[in-house]
Symmetry: C2
């Protein structure tokens, strides 16, 4: 399974009835005795009469307030330490929270060396700062929330496809060592990062029939085309670093202008130049500006969110293109798919991280990936 499932472990020796997660405790309607909650200390405030703690176990943005007798305070009960608190869940007298925990015992399960701990109490650390600590930043509000949203977004996307009768296919992760020909070709062709290049190869490893999504149908209605886009860019009052010209790829600056031009709404661009796109895209057989049936979905703030195309299902077209590229032998299997009962088909890929950036308004893609890999950086 490509992925893990994360949760705070409950104390194995306790009966289920007395376990409560912070999120459950916060949402509880009725007071309860003999409650045991585990979490990290987010704040400690010691007063003469009373000791206040806020604890958080990563299940919620909010923390549970713990009220205790000052005698329960100890040296290692610090910000960042992991504690297990047993007590009574009672209605809170404050409007800020529904419930609070009246502690009977506080056990420091794991102390925290606060002098070297890079996160500080009640401080709002910049994303750039916590990015340096990929193994600890999940304990911050921002990354904790991001991880929960990622999980929900993944589940939502999978449910959508499952509910619509799609079959989820697990495709291999090709390394250049395993599969030189194909792997290298796609890396060059897509000229994207390794992850997205791997996504591209999926198109090929799924034998034939990728989904044609609503996106591709929308294309028929919404596709404002590449040629039109270039015209819009040429007439733009602003100067671009890359001069817009038919036959050249759209740069991020162009994509952003197009989205702005259309009123900061998602924009489909269709029918890209034949010579710009890989061999597997369907020839539109048009002229004089020869194009293929490709589509990109551009969104505000991010640029390209989805890219897709109709695939060239016609054997003679594909054969002649592969022949010109000298790739007929390497792609014999791909030609086979056209030889033995081919059908018109298409598909699209969505950059899941870009989707998260778009819906959350996060500027840097590294902040929506739990363990980002980029040039000269493979931390952990």
């Amino acid at each position: 399974m490509l992925g893990g499932w994360r949760a705070l472990r409950r104390c194995a020796s306790l009966p289920r009835a007395v376990r409560l997660r912070v999120r459950e405790a916060l949402g509880a309607r009725e007071p309860a005795d003999a409650v045991r909650v585990q979490g990290w200390v987010r704040s400690v405030r010691s007063q003469k009469e009373v000791l206040f703690l806020h604890i958080n176990d990563g299940s919620s943005l909010e923390s549970l307030q713990v009220v205790a007798d000052p005698s329960l305070e100890k040296r290692d009960l610090t910000f960042g330490s992991a504690v297990e608190v047993q007590g009574k869940l009672v209605k809170s007298p404050h409007k800020m929270q529904n419930m609070e925990l009246q502690a009977e015992t506080i056990h420091v399960v794991g102390p925290c060396d606060i002098w070297s701990f890079p996160l500080k109490m009640k401080e709002r650390h910049p994303l750039e700062y916590i990015r340096q600590f990929p193994h600890l930043r999940c304990r911050s509000n921002a990354l904790g929330a991001l991880l929960r949203i990622r999980s929900e977004a993944t589940a939502g996307i999978h449910s959508f496809f499952q509910d619509n009768g799609y079959v989820h296919i697990h495709t291999p992760i090709i390394t250049s060592n395993d599969c030189e020909g194909a792997g290298e070709l796609f890396q060059i062709e897509t000229s994207r990062g390794a992850k997205e290049s791997a996504e591209m190869t999926h198109f090929f490893n799924v034998p034939a029939f990728l989904t044609v999504s609503g996106q591709l149908h929308l294309e028929v209605m919404a596709g404002i085309s590449y040629s039109e886009a270039v015209e819009i860019l040429k007439q733009a009052p602003q100067t671009f670093t890359f001069k817009p010209e038919w036959g050249c790829d759209l740069q991020t600056e162009h994509e952003k202008y197009l989205v702005k031009h259309c009123g900061e709404v998602p924009v489909f661009v269709v029918n890209y130049p034949y010579d710009l796109k890989p061999f597997y895209m369907r020839d539109n057989e048009d002229g004089p500006q020869h194009t293929v049936a490709a589509v990109d979905l551009l969104v505000p703030g991010v640029g390209e969110l989805c890219g897709g195309s109709l695939r060239e299902e016609r054997l003679p077209f594909l054969e002649s293109r592969l022949q010109r590229l000298g790739l007929t032998d390497a792609y014999q299997w791909y030609l086979d798919l056209r030889k033995f009962g081919s059908v018109p088909h298409g598909g699209f890929g969505m950059g899941f991280e870009r989707y998260l950036q778009y819906i959350l308004g996060v500027d840097n893609i590294k902040d929506v990936i739990p363990f980002p890999r980029f040039s000269h950086s493979c931390l952990l």
Copy 2:
């Protein structure tokens, strides 16, 4: 997204109302006019008065019977070709099926070169045979069904965790190029295939708190231990290729014997020798036979299905073990997790392919993986 979604594309020019997938057509209760179904021809039987086709679109094990006038037969309407049939869905006079399609038009969307097509009509090909054609074997009954089951099993596992409040974390796929130290170490330590080794690294890339599952709780009740297992093996009436000895890893032959000894039921083996297992497993501090809190779940037919352990959450224990291995610098980040509020935690990994083998009774793991990679083979 690591995976694709597969479905037969509907003809874009048709209104939704006249599209019907084979599975829907087979399950339909009411007759319907103007139905258009797409699929591959699984059989063609031409009689004097009537032409019978069976078509299948990969959505079901069953095929839809198409009844047509012999005048609709044409040269390229062969086994393996992709067709689009328009007609009336009517109650079938035969008990074998609920519905059949009375064809008005049959359009061969993609012909099939039957002379070179490796699958033959109505033939039950051995799994070993179709394994040679990873790009075409999804058109066989066995692999088609497997892909649908894989998809359902994945969804089921994900739903289970989601419903129980777990957060799905996407962990990176480390290549040895990106991250030599860690990658290579795990490869050596786990001495498993590349895929499972990648699974192992997930344990480390998820910052701290992997789930402790029901499996690990069951361990308390069901754990028949490693030491007991070795005793059982020593007293076994059969001779093993590898002599069972305390301190040596259990071989597949041993695992199979243990499962048989327990009456062909799933068996937990717990507390493996300290020196056999990686540094991150929790020291049981027992003696004279020093063990760690590790667990394996052995199942009939497959052997090890799940492996898990409690993690060493105690800083001094982990420090001294890493020091002895000379790995303190490489794993400073892992030590950090113990330094800043550690908690007792554990986790397990399940071999998803082994799980499929177990529930389906499939002997060869290559037949439960869409695109298997193994020594000297990286087809497609």
